[in-house]
Symmetry: C2
Subunit: 201 residues, 2 copies
Amino acid sequence: MPPPKRRRRGSRYAVLGMLSMGLKTGYAMKKHVEGNLGHYWSESYGQIYPILRQLVDEGLATCTEERRKGKPMRNLYSITPSGRKELREWLAMPPEPQPQRSEILLKLSLGNRVSSETCQKLIRDYRQQCEQDLAYLDDIASALRGPGAQHRDQPYWLMTLHHGRAIREAELAWCGQTLAHLRRLATQKKQWKKEGGASDG
Amino acid sequence: MPPPKRRRRGSRYAVLGMLSMGLKTGYAMKKHVEGNLGHYWSESYGQIYPILRQLVDEGLATCTEERRKGKPMRNLYSITPSGRKELREWLAMPPEPQPQRSEILLKLSLGNRVSSETCQKLIRDYRQQCEQDLAYLDDIASALRGPGAQHRDQPYWLMTLHHGRAIREAELAWCGQTLAHLRRLATQKKQWKKEGGASDG
DNA sequence: CTAGCCATGTAATCCGTTACATGATTGG
DNA sequence: CCAATCATGTAACGGATTACATGGCTAG
């Protein structure tokens, strides 16, 4: 028998996890992802709604329709005991290594094909993005500490925010270094040209 | 007219980029990705071969069959001038922000559902992975500096390796902090239990 | 002989986003 | 009246991996 196929199913457990925090509708889950998990996770309706249905089919969640006068209909989902069990089992498994793909590093590695200006712009834009990310992370963090109602998951959310901060700050430092490297490369090239390009050092 | 659809096509330009460095066969490209770009990129044959064909169709590459006695047949690809042009144009465009997904942060954010032990193991395993990654990055770096033949792209490759180092080191520091947080949380919980769980100070 | 590498390629499948369709309510 | 928000869902598409099929050569 070949080794059973490795499936990712991260979205499935993200949804199950949100059910376990008491979120009840697909719409609310989408908003939660956008507003609170945006720095390390994303989901689309095209994933959320089918998954909710599937979880009900498998007995990991239940669904009740709610009709309210003056408001649109909603489907209210709740996690079941077996849902909690499967979530805990997944949490205890070591995460699959995810193949990293970084478009900016791919571009940088081919930097010799474009001007030093183009290359530096690439990095400067990235640095700016990191700065914006840091501001965004701080917004979430203060929103998290602000309203007295301490959520039981709050300490864990803060840890994920710390991660975001740590990474972005490392990226900023790297951007600075890299810009310096690029400038040095550019002046070296100019030197070569001036000296006639025949020297060997 | 709706805004023209945003396509990723990172793989396409990764292949075009490898053609521009002189790699000639799909097989060689796969090996190169595994051995040299593994820390920030991945490709599978299922991408590479169809893309090579497509590039030839579009006039960005040419292909010649090579039959050698005693060796398997190969298709040798080369980049054309218009291929180089399109590559340069892509390099000058700002990279699309890629939605990040971190399974480990997702798990950590739900840490309250499992034991502190389980949570700490998650982070310790991750720390170990980062250490291995660092060793791997150093291997590539020394392979890069070792054989005298300085590739013209070498300085750029070193910059991507620096990035890997910077990130992994930041991750290691974060792992240390996070383990401390987790231990503190665990002792707090124990305290609660001892004191009867009713205290508020 | 057989394991492993060279070398090419395709089909199935999975994963995920985007765009669309629908419709009620609320606030300006 | 219009825009925004709440709310659900699906179809089409794009992107990527996995598994499979093929086959010759080389070294042990």
